[in-house]
């Protein structure tokens, strides 16, 4: 289904209805910053489970996508770091979730490759470490690289600062992190934002994520983490 030119603005609850149990979702954020808190809250309050969660870190036990893990809605986590979330660590230790750990630079590059139509890329990161296990190594000019494959999701949940009606996005501070990249790699992309302005108000030179990537906009509803978004 084609994306609309003027983006539908939904409540968080309605927006996450496009996520079914068993889906693969990407969630933006680094530590506390740039997490789509309202969308995650709506997902935690839904019946959805068996999710595969692609997220750099799983935040904290009761914060953002961390609570999705703690709540038992996630069957597999793909991340670079889970050390801040004891629930993720324990569930993995008890074999209750699957876990795939990927170096952070490789993690974001795999998402970009997925979103930008590449079949993979060669990275020197992780050569000689566990990160190369099960992966093809390719020699280029006498140096060995890991062939890393693209990563995509059914739905990307991202956090931005402002959107215009066409879904063009700008970000604020360190809340940018993985969000622009994940906006390229979801079949459906939902952006939670502080503010929606009329088209023309965002300078085209400043746009970070072009609106053609976005399906739905959601105004942030969560006030608890307001100061953190």
């Amino acid at each position: 289904m084609a994306k609309k030119r003027i983006k539908p603005v939904l409540t968080a609850k309605d927006a996450v209805k496009c996520i079914s149990s068993g889906a693969t979702i990407m969630v933006g954020g680094f530590n506390y910053g740039g997490i789509p808190y309202s969308l995650i809250k709506a997902l935690v309050e839904s019946e959805v489970n068996d999710l595969t969660l692609i997220s750099n870190d799983t935040a904290y036990e009761d914060v953002g996508q961390g609570s999705l893990v703690k709540n038992g809605q996630v069957k597999k986590v793909i991340a670079s770091h889970i050390g801040l979330n004891r629930a993720t660590q324990n569930l993995y230790n008890e074999h209750k979730i699957d876990l795939e750990l990927i170096p952070q630079g490789t993690f974001v590059e795999k998402i970009r490759a997925g979103g930008f139509g590449l079949g993979g890329f060669l990275t020197p990161t992780g050569i000689g470490t566990e990160a190369q296990n099960g992966k093809q190594l390719i020699d280029v000019g006498g140096r060995e690289y890991i062939l890393e494959l693209p990563m995509v999701a059914d739905v990307s949940l991202i956090r931005a600062y402002k959107a215009d009606q066409n879904g063009n996005l700008i970000y604020f501070g360190t809340n940018r992190n993985f969000n622009p990249t994940m906006a390229t790699a979801g079949k459906i992309v939902i952006a939670e934002v502080d503010d929606i302005v009329v088209s023309g108000e965002i300078n085209p030179n400043d746009v970070v994520t072009p609106g053609i990537l976005i399906d739905y906009l959601v105004l942030k509803e969560d006030t608890y983490y307001a100061s953190r978004t």
């Binding site: 970009r112 930008f116 066409n166 072009p210 053609i212």
Partner: protein
């Protein structure tokens, strides 16, 4: 005998027909030549988002006063519509290769019955380079070819096998000429529309590619008010 049309009419008929393909909100990339004209014929009520591979998402028409800091892929000045975005070539081709563009409209030297396209070089002539064409045909969801049915020597351009260097393999979705509309359906080339005064036999005489005939052939859309 195929009707003889002046070049102006050929170009505009093709552009007009292609403009009827889009839904509101579709993201469309236009090549140079006939494809450029497509933007003049978008029906009222439909707004498409024009993307140019050099970094505009949401391009508008030519400005009254040229500002060379805003150009399209063909080097002509353009305007930005409200809600547009400017991106780098890196991101632009990410969008293209990543399947985020709905349509590209391109010219052709030859299209063959296996949906292969040759569009960037006639060996023996000076080499221009492929520019962004290979990325466009590879990544964009629908590749529409806008071309005169035969070349200036009267030779078929819709052929059995492309003899010129390829732009892409199995990439073409649809061909629009001044005489007909053909589509690739399940890897077969199918004739679906004919311009007024054109018969299937006429068309076969100027088309060396094998093609099937759609169950129902209609008059080429857009010709009714010529």
């Amino acid at each position: 005998m195929l009707p003889v049309l002046d070049e102006e009419k050929v170009r505009n008929r093709i552009a007009k027909r292609i403009a009827l393909e889009f839904d509101d909100g579709d993201v469309v990339n236009l090549g140079i030549g006939i494809p450029t004209l497509v933007s003049d014929y978008i029906p009222t009520g439909i707004e498409v988002v024009f993307q140019t591979e050099n970094g505009v998402v949401g391009a508008g028409p030519k400005p009254e006063v040229d500002d060379w800091r805003f150009i399209g892929a063909g080097g002509r000045c353009l305007t930005l519509l409200p809600g547009s975005a400017l991106v780098s070539s890196e991101v632009s081709f990410g969008l293209i290769r990543g399947g985020h563009i709905d349509y590209t409209v391109l010219g052709a030297l030859q299209v063959d019955e296996k949906a292969n396209l040759a569009s960037w070089w006639i060996p023996g002539k000076l080499i221009p380079g492929m520019g962004g064409s290979m990325d466009l045909v590879t990544g964009v969801k629908n590749v529409i070819i806008a071309t005169s049915h035969v070349n200036k020597k009267g030779e078929a351009k819709i052929v059995k096998d492309c003899s010129f260097p390829l732009t892409g393999v199995g990439v073409v979705s649809m061909i629009v000429t001044e005489y007909a509309v053909m589509r690739f359906i399940e890897s077969k080339l199918v004739l679906s529309e004919l311009a007024p005064g054109v018969t299937v036999e006429d068309l076969r005489g100027s088309t060396t590619a094998e093609f099937e005939i759609a169950k129902e052939i209609i008059i080429m859309k857009g010709c009714e008010d010529e």
